[in-house]
């Protein structure tokens, strides 16, 4: 009897010990990319050590499927704890009650560069924590400038100068003066928004009114129209990275691109290049760019929302974020100013225009259906680029179509 009692006791004890790890609560993290960044691996380990009984399980999903996976899981009622998403999706997720707010204190907000918090803010609340940030600048091919009789050390500062320089390159060298991406691809919209934000334009205002049909944006579309004949032939066949490849091959005079191109050019490019602030439109108030952020969104119904918010804030805190941004080497524009950023700017002057543009930059507009919004914008750009519509008509049509998504 005693033996049986003892055996049972040992059995219960063993069962409890074995079950203990199962009692640990887990935060699943849909992680976009090919592999987990070592900085995040370390951050997860550190956080788990400081939060006994909690684990974080990242699931690496390729960029192409990442957002769809997070969305589908949430829509199916089995959401991940949190996911890496484009901040433009946050409004749609929030309106559909799929994510929880992640409010930031004033101190937290103040730590970021201007406008970054607005990329995740909707109805006065933050719905995600920014984790990656991208800005653009103008790259120019100095050899082509020289060949076209232009000053290779003076990049265009305005749209008018850009069009003039592109025309000169096309006429004098026979090569494309400008790289205008207009493929059926998300960055066709992004590239156009850089023009919007370098002319004090907007797509939607703080009250949710569509403001696309404005003189500032019309000027942007007219500039597009003027650039088409001197741009890479067949703009609608190329997206941003394909245009970048053409620039790296020395076949185009100017492009808008992220800082990644600078590293490619510096570390083995054959092009004599320079990088400057994006040229400004007639109504610009200062250097601008589209501010694209990716965020960590915390999904509703996972049962671990509070702890996921805590982890999301930890993993994007300066102590983790700075090594993740890698002093610029990862091609990510820093989210917050810091002594490390100052050092990076001093060591790599080509970083300057990517930070300059933040001052008058604007966020990706938050609409109720970001894919619908994207399609409308791409259609607008393509109709002007292919000559099937005049800028004003395309703008008015797009503005009308966006009413559905505001």
């Amino acid at each position: 009897m005693i033996k049986l009692y003892r055996t049972s006791l040992i059995g219960v004890a063993l069962a409890c010990t074995t079950a203990l790890p199962a009692l640990a609560q887990d935060i699943t993290w849909i992680y976009c990319g090919d592999k987990i960044d070592p900085v995040h691996e370390k951050a997860i380990a550190d956080w788990q050590a400081a939060n006994e009984g909690w684990t974080v399980t990242p699931e690496v999903v390729g960029w192409g499927q990442c957002q769809d996976k997070a969305t589908t899981l949430a829509a199916a009622g089995s959401p991940a704890g949190m996911a890496y998403v484009g901040s433009r999706t946050l409004k749609e997720f929030a309106l559909n009650d799929l994510i929880v707010p992640v409010p930031m204190t004033e101190e937290e907000q103040a730590a970021y560069y201007p406008h970054i918090v607005s990329t995740v803010t909707f109805e006065g609340t933050q719905w995600g924590v920014p984790i990656a940030f991208s800005t653009k600048a103008l790259y120019w091919n100095k050899a082509l400038f020289k060949e076209a009789g232009l000053d290779p050390e003076s990049p265009p500062k305005t749209w008018a100068e850009t069009i003039a320089a592109a025309t000169a390159i096309k006429e004098k060298t026979g090569k494309a003066g400008y790289g205008l991406p207009a493929k059926t691809f998300d960055n066709t919209m992004h590239q156009f928004l850089h023009w919007v934000y370098t002319n004090n334009g907007s797509v939607i205002d703080a009250d949710g009114n569509i403001t696309l049909d404005s003189p500032q944006n019309l000027a942007a579309l007219e500039a597009y129209k003027a650039l088409v004949p001197v741009s890479v032939e067949g703009a609608t066949a190329y997206e941003q990275n394909e245009i970048r490849a053409i620039f790296l091959d020395g076949q185009v005079g100017m492009i808008q691109a992220a800082v990644g191109a600078a590293y490619l050019l510096r570390d083995g490019g054959k092009v004599e290049w320079g990088v400057a602030d994006l040229p400004l439109g007639p109504d610009a108030q200062g250097p601008g760019t589209l501010l694209i952020t990716d965020s960590l969104a915390v999904f509703k119904g996972s049962g671990v929302e509070e702890k996921a918010i805590e982890f999301a804030k930890y993993v994007t805190s300066p102590e983790v974020q700075e090594p993740y941004e890698g002093g610029g080497a990862a091609g990510l524009t820093p989210l917050r100013p810091s002594p490390a950023v100052d050092k990076m700017l001093a060591e790599n002057p080509f970083w300057k225009p990517f930070v300059d543009g933040i001052a008058f930059g604007g966020p990706e507009p938050l609409l109720t259906d970001y894919k619908g919004f994207q399609n409308v914008m791409i259609e607008m750009v393509q109709s002007v680029v292919t000559g099937s519509a005049e800028p004003q008509a395309a703008l008015t049509k797009a503005a009308g179509a966006l009413e559905e998504y505001k």
Binding site: D68, T71, A74, A75, E92, F93, N96, D97, L98, G174, A182, K183, T184, F185, V232, E233, G234, A235, T236, A237, Y238, E242, A245, I246, D249, Q251, D369, K371, G372, N375, I378, E379, Q382, S383, T386, S388
Partner: protein
């Protein structure tokens, strides 16, 4: 009586796995899609029934254009596959030295994973780095780079060419088998009567290949109508929607814009068209087998 009941039970038991499979894999999703097409299902957690609203919404001018484009895309693609496949089969059947090697050489488009083949065509169509544009420039046919995927018309035909490239090997091999089953003595008799090569092809090969051509056309029609990968990888339906077919439109609506209800309505319309094609296929094959028996 007992025996017949037990054989009935045995028969149903044998059929059960197949029936279960069809119910779970085919019937249930189909029913769900049909049900969903009458709802406003989206990312929202609440779903309401909206009657025929989704169907009313999709039958606008844009969708009708998409339907017409889908039929045009399918027609040209299938027609080209049949024509090239027929002549390919005739050539491969010819008594030329090394014909076995030629037969093997027809296979790569079929063997190469489809996505890789499509990406390869994507590069060939590229204006700056593409082979086609490069050759055209080298031979002085065009002045500068030609980006085939940049313009509505060229993109439409470029996607068709890629689909034909992928589809032709199967058609050719199928037709080759059909040609080889034609009795040789028919050709010998015609040759003795002084019939030319063209006459023999027109009067013997084509009529006796007809059942194979009709069957393959119907099967190809069904597969091509639903073709997604080629257009999606090459153009994503662009530029300006000029290569958007029904299946691309459905994907963009249901998965891209998360309008599951509207997407389901589009899928139902595709399903109806495909059912009609299948019905036609079964009718044709039944008639062909009846003719053969007669």
């Amino acid at each position: 009586m007992i025996k017949s009941r037990s054989s009935l039970i045995f028969a149903w038991a044998l059929l059960a796995p197949a029936i279960l499979y069809i119910l779970v894999i085919v019937a249930w999703p189909l029913f769900e899609t049909f049900r969903l097409s009458f709802t406003d299902a989206s990312l929202r957690k609440v779903t309401n029934y909206v009657g025929w609203k989704n169907y009313d919404k999709i039958f606008n001018e844009t969708f009708l254009t998409v339907i017409l484009r889908t039929f045009a895309w399918t027609f040209f693609s299938v027609a080209l596959k049949m024509i090239i496949g027929t002549f390919g089969a005739v050539l491969l059947n010819a008594a030329v030295p090394g014909r076995h090697i030629f037969r093997i050489l027809t296979m790569p488009p079929w063997i190469v994973p489809m996505a890789i083949g499509i990406f390869m065509w994507g590069w060939m169509y590229n204006g700056q780095f593409g082979m086609i544009s490069g050759l055209l420039q080298r031979f002085g046919i065009v002045d500068g780079p030609v980006a085939f995927l940049a313009w509505g018309n060229t993109a439409f035909w470029a996607t068709i060419v890629t689909d034909v490239w992928i589809g032709v090997p199967m058609v050719t091999i199928y037709f080759l088998a059909a040609i080889q089953s034609i009795p040789k003595d028919l050709y010998e008799a015609a040759w003795t009567d002084g019939a030319s090569r063209w006459t023999r092809f027109r009067r013997i090969t084509l009529p006796l290949m007809a059942p194979a051509i009709i069957t393959m056309s119907m099967l190809s029609l069904i597969a091509t109508f639903n073709s997604f990968d080629i257009i999606w990888i090459l153009t994503q339906g662009g530029p300006s929607g000029s290569t958007t077919t029904m299946i691309i439109d459905t994907y963009q609506t249901a998965i891209g814009s998360k309008k599951y209800g509207e997407g389901a309505a589009r899928a139902v319309v595709i399903c109806i068209f495909l059912s009609l094609f299948c019905l036609a296929y079964f009718r044709v094959t039944r008639r062909l087998s009846a003719t053969e028996k007669a």
